[in-house]
Structure formats: structure tokens, C-alpha cells
């Protein structure tokens, strides 16, 4: 009966992730089915004759039952064939790869700033609970969380890009020549994303740190005559971090969705903006590809976050019985 808990949990999580992806594919496929018109009409446009439409339908086997078409579509995707974009008339796969990369770049940079910033601020707030800095920080992050990303983004553009000319208003990443350029261009979207994410982690870190500082084991550590630094960094911090890491994990997955709006605001050529535009143009293969890729990223982030929290918790790592 003794199965090592961690590998078993990871396998369960992995299985669930694959299941989730499968459900996503079902949803994506059926949502697109609901779009007015069919693929043939979309390809040939409004002026198409009945005959050409019928010919194309037979060629694309559009009259097959939906489950059959779904299976065929899924089979293609498993082999890397996402179909051809109706608008760009290029294979979807090559298209989304670049967009996905850029989305991950933006999200990754945002997280890179987010993690130290929010944990640092949380610890700062916990240093003096209900003190002036705590109250000011709580108010600031709460307001930051309450302003929609698109508003933050637009006003940052107005202020820092148009008026002060510190940063470019649009994140035209294709024109970046050096890594410095990339940072410069992505500064505003990264700040925007951090506005929304900071509050939650700051609050979790603050609360759990306050809780941990009150705990018996921290009290006993200082009663054993350990130095304050050791009490703080060896006894308090590692235990306070796990709720914060949970919050970061939630934020990381939120990021995959939140990035859609920010990409549109900054005209950033990422997967989110691609999805929004494909839906506007009813570019079915592209919608499917982009939605699936974004969901896969989201699920992967969730999976990584889950496993990270599992590994950080000695109670889960070494369960007896």
C-alpha cells in the first residue's frame, strides 16, 4: 500500500492536466461550431456560388457528423497539424509558435518582477502589522488591484509614453534590436500586469508571516536563544512562504488570461491578441489553435505551480503511512 506520495500525486496531476486539455479541445471545437455559417462559406466568402460551396464542402468533408470531424481535427493536432489560417493563408502551427513565444516572454518578465516585489512588500507590511507602512501598502495594493488593466495601461501610456516619453507607447517587439530594447518596450505592459497581481500576494505574504511570527515554533526558536536573523530566515520565512507561493501560482495562471487585455492595449503581437482578432475575423483554425495553445500554457503553469507547492511542503513530501 505504501506508494511514495509525491510521484503518485504528480502522476495524478499530470493525468488531470491531460484530461483538462481534452475538455478544452472539446469546448473549443463546439464553440466554433456555434459560429454562424460554415467553413466553406468562410473560405469562399459571400460571393461564392452554390456549386463551388458544395464542392468545397465535399472536399473538406463538412457534412460528416460532428464527432467524426472532431476526431479528425484532434488527430491532426496531435500530429502538429492545426490547419491553415483563413485570413493569413498560412499553416496555423508556424504562426502560433512565434506568438506563444512572445506571450511567454511577456508573462515571464512580469512574473520575474512580480515574485520578489510582492513578497518583499508583504514582508515589509508584516514587519509592523497595522503600522503606517502596513496601512499605506494595503491601501495602495488594494487600489492597484481595483483598477482594470486596460485603464492602468492606457494611463501609463498617456503619462509615461506620451507626456514624459520614457517608454514607447506600443510594444512593437519585432523592432527590438537588443535585449535592452526588449526590456524598454515591455516595461509598460509588465508594470500594468504587476498592478493587478501584486495585491493578492502581498496580502497572503503579510497575513501568513504575521501568523507564523505568532506561532509557537517561532516563539520557541527565540526562547532557545537563536539570533533574530536566524529566527526570521530559517524558522519564520520558509513557513510563511507556502501560502504566498500558492498565491503566486494562482497569479501565474491568471496571467495567461489577463495578458489578453494587456496585449490588446499595447498592440503586442502575442497569442491573446491573436485570439481576439481571429474571433473577430471568424478565422476558425486560428481561433482553435490560439485558444488551445493559450489553454495549454495555462494548464502547464498550473501543473508546475501545483508540483512546486507539493515539493515545498515536507508534510506532503514525507507522509508516514
Amino acid at each position: 500500500m505504501r506508494v511514495a506520495p509525491i510521484p503518485r500525486l504528480i502522476v495524478t496531476r499530470l493525468a488531470l492536466s491531460v484530461l483538462s486539455l481534452f475538455v478544452v479541445s472539446l469546448i473549443v471545437f463546439s464553440a466554433v461550431e456555434l459560429l454562424p455559417g460554415d467553413t466553406a462559406e468562410r473560405i469562399l466568402g459571400r460571393e461564392a456560388t452554390k456549386e463551388s460551396l458544395a464542392a468545397l464542402r465535399t472536399q473538406l468533408r463538412l457534412s460528416d457528423p460532428a464527432p467524426e470531424r472532431y476526431a479528425r481535427w484532434l488527430g491532426g493536432i496531435v500530429q502538429g497539424d492545426f490547419g491553415r489560417s483563413l485570413v493569413a493563408d498560412r499553416p496555423v502551427f508556424s504562426y502560433i509558435a512565434g506568438y506563444l513565444g512572445r506571450t511567454l516572454l511577456l508573462g515571464g518578465l512580469a512574473l520575474l518582477i512580480h515574485i520578489p516585489l510582492s513578497i518583499g512588500l508583504g514582508l515589509l507590511a508584516a514587519a509592523r502589522p497595522d503600522g503606517a507602512s502596513d496601512l499605506a501598502l494595503s491601501a495602495a495594493v488594494l487600489i492597484g488591484m481595483s483598477i482594470p488593466e486596460f485603464v492602468v495601461g492606457i494611463f501609463l501610456i498617456m503619462l509615461l509614453a506620451n507626456d514624459l516619453q520614457l517608454f514607447p507607447p506600443l510594444a512593437l517587439i519585432d523592432q527590438a534590436k537588443s535585449f535592452g530594447d526588449v526590456i524598454h518596450m515591455l516595461a509598460l505592459p509588465v508594470i500594468t500586469l504587476n498592478f493587478a497581481m501584486t495585491a493578492y500576494v502581498v496580502r497572503q505574504t503579510r497575513n501568513s508571516m504575521i501568523e507564523v511570527l505568532k506561532s509557537d515554533y517561532v516563539r520557541m526558536a527565540s526562547l532557545r536563544g537563536l539570533s533574530p536573523l536566524r529566527v526570521l530566515f530559517v524558522h519564520a520565512l520558509p513557513n510563511a512562504l507556502s501560502p504566498a507561493i500558492n498565491a503566486i501560482a494562482l497569479n501565474a495562471s491568471w496571467l495567461v488570461g489577463g495578458i489578453v487585455v494587456v496585449e490588446v492595449v499595447f498592440n503586442y503581437p502575442g497569442l491573446g491578441r491573436l485570439l481576439v482578432e481571429s474571433i473577430r475575423f471568424h478565422d476558425v483554425p486560428m481561433i482553435q489553435g490560439a485558444a488551445l495553445a493559450l489553454s495549454a500554457a495555462y494548464i502547464a503553469v498550473n501543473l508546475v505551480a501545483d508540483i512546486a507547492t507539493l515539493l515545498l511542503n515536507p508534510k506532503l513530501r514525507t507522509r508516514t503511512a
Binding site: L34, I143, I147, F155, Y298
Partner: protein, 293 residues
Amino acid sequence: MTDLSVLLESRPRPAGRRFALQRLPVSAKVAGLVLLAYAAVAMLAPAIAPYPPNEIFVGSPFEPPSAAFLLGTDSLGRDVLSRTIYGSRTILLMGGAAAGLSASIGGLLGMFIGYRGGVLDEVAMRMLEIIMSIPSIIFALLIVGSLGASAPLVAVTVGLLSVPNVARVVRAATQSVASEDFITAARARGETSLSIVLRELLPNVTGTLIVEFSIRTGYSILFIGGLGFLGFGAQPPTADWGLMVNEGRGTIDASIWPVAAPAAGMAMLVTAVNLFTDGVNRLFGPAEQGGVR
């Protein structure tokens, strides 16, 4: 021996009983007043808005604020103040409906599976986990994009997408209450399941439900605003804040007001909701439930 107990036992003083609302922190009370003001403005929109919201060229385009147009006019010469006032109706109605939908369905589902437990609970939780592992915004874009954007559809979609989150929290609260001995005592007396849920369980998860509703309201407003901004919410010419920001941002150099007014309305509304949530959470949240004594 009875005297002994009088001598020895310390009795907590009966705390002055006050209504829950009175015990809210000041910030939450202020936030509550702001929310009431929003509700009043939304309800009285036809009476207080100086112009019909969608009437074009009541002034010339991009007029700066003046006595006639307190917040100026937009690119089509519509009165920004009137549109902003009417916009509060749209967002409150949609946000409230979405939050109400998720809190009620999620609440019922969470209580049901939390109380019943067993295999049903495990299966339901796995399903909720799968739904939650799909990013909501993609879900929403796909559904709204394929069925055609309309205010009710957006509200329902956003509401339903939050059901798993609410259900999970309420389920956990229910489970912790359901494992307590007063529930066991009720079972031992032979109370019906319905009576246990309504009489014993519900009063102990009401706080959680209120907090969840409050959280979901803030979340839904932001979500719906975002969808509106992307063009997947209420459609033109509706006075919708997200849509107004999107329409005005191209011409922000000509006039900031068509963007600033709805943006400020939105930011203040969500701040108020979040402050209120914070207060309610302090009243009913886990800290309070752990420390009732």
C-alpha cells in the same frame, strides 16, 4: 458545590450585541456608502443625466468640460457625463447578475457536495478542478464570440465561469461546519437533512456566502469591463464603461474625458467593492470563525 462554580468559573461578559453591519471597519462602511451612492445614481439615471446617453451631437465633438457638459463630449458629440451615469446601470446590472448567479449556484452546489461528501463529492470536485484549469477569459471569448455579444449572455457567461471557485470555497466551509458535533447532535436527534442544512448549516456558512458574493462582484465587474473593452461585451451604442474606454482611447489626445470618466467610475466602484469585501471578510472570514469566543 453549586457555590463552588460561582466562585471558580470565569464567565465571558455578554458582548454588546450589535448588527453585523455596525461592526464593519470604518473603511468598509465608507465603501458601503459609496456603493449605495452608485446604486442610487444607476436607479435615478434618467432623472439625473442631463442628456439622453446615446444622442449624438448634443454638443460638438471633444468639447472640454463646461457648464453645459460637465465632463465634456466624446468623438460623436455625446455627453460624457450622461453616458457615464447610464454606464453605471449597465455594469451594476451585469456585475450584480453575474455575481448573484455564481454565488447562488456555486453556493448551493458547494453546500450540497460538502454536506453529502463521499463519492459524489470526489467526482464533483474533480470536474470542478478540470473546469477551473481552463482559463476563464478564453472560455468567455469563445462563447461570446460564437454566440454573438449581448449584455445578458456576457453576464451569464461570467457568472457561470465563477461557479467552480465559489463552490470550492463554500464546500470547504461546509465541510468544516459539517464535521462539528452540533451537526452530529442534530443527526442523532433524527433531524431531516433539509432541516440540518437550513437550520444548523446555513447560519454558519452565511458569512462565507456573503464574502464570496462580494468577491465575485468585484471580479465580475473587472471581467465584464475587460470584455467590454475587447469589444465582447455590450455593443455600441450602449453606454458601457469598458466599451467607452475602448472607443475613446484612439482619440485620447483630443480629449481625455471620454476615457477618464468611465475609467474613474470603474476604478472607484471596484475599489469600493473590494474595501467592502475586505470588511465583510474580517467579520465573517475564517479568522472570525476561528475566534468566535
